[in-house]
Amino acid sequence: MSSQFPAPAETVRLTSPSQTGTKHTFEIADLAVFGAVFLAAVGHLMIKAGLVGAASAGLHGNVVDRLMVYFTQPYVILGLAIYGLGTAMWILAVSSHDISYVFPISALNYVLVTLGGKLLFGEVVTLKRWGGIALVILGVGLMQGSGRKGRP
């Protein structure tokens, strides 16, 4: 990441990130990237938990009735709220980074949802999927050294 520790925050703030080669240390805004991905994954898993609980109740009736059952599940509502919070944090993350830096990191969402599916719903994770999880984590790690604001 950076050897310039501590990075003078004021300098970082005053320069245009896309035009500078300023390397800087880990900042709160970096947490927004991972926080957004984490919240989105938790939101997805909670919605899934709510839908699992409503699956039997939702078997009958027309589409509108079924949707009503789904959208009134406490876990579904909570999951949507957390997902919304994740979206707000995503906006913060995007506002302070290159989009070519943050967007690929959102692939961690697949990793978290896959692991969550295994832990919470007993879903099977094949060897191929473990390989994919390792590659995404490797890629996100590589991204950290890619000059997060523009020129490395």
Binding site: A9, V12, R13, S16, P17, S18, E27, I28, A29, A32, I91, L92, A93, V94, S95, S96, D98, I99, S100, Y101, F103, P104, I105, A107, Y110, V111, T114, K128, R129, G131, G132, I133, A134, L135, V136, I137, L138, G139, V140, L142, M143, G145, S146, G147, G150, R151, P152
Partner: protein, 118 residues
């Protein structure tokens, strides 16, 4: 509209949405904290509305495509949006993508394909 066409338009809009969002928020330097005023200003920002619209249309087309296509076919293709966003961010936002970043993007794409493929 065929399901495959809907899928590809969905993938394209999904990527374009992220670039529109970036165009809308700019480099606001959120590390110093953003105000309620900043959040409210997003409501009257045309790029943000374009982002929302792209997102909604992309999601609708995605659901439409998935009603016809196998998810293990559709999901890995979604990883192409990471490459698309890199290209669009370079063309439309002037972002510089270093060699390391390109490698990182391709490694992530490969990982997503492995996670999502049957």
């Amino acid at each position: 509209m065929t399901a495959t066409l809907a899928l590809w338009i969905s993938i394209f809009l999904n990527g374009l949405a992220q670039v529109l969002l970036k165009k809308g928020v700019g480099h606001t330097q959120a590390r110093t904290g953003v105000s309620a005023k900043w959040w409210l200003s997003l409501l009257t920002n045309g790029w943000i509305w374009a982002w929302g619209l792209s997102f909604v249309v992309a999601t609708a087309l995605w659901i439409l495509a998935l009603s016809k296509l196998d998810i293990s076919y559709a999901f890995p293709l979604l990883s192409t949006s990471f490459i698309l966003v890199a290209i669009l961010s370079r063309l439309l936002l002037g972002e510089y993508i270093s060699r390391t970043r390109w490698i990182a993007i391709f490694v992530i794409c490969l990982g997503v394909i492995l996670i999502a493929a049957k």
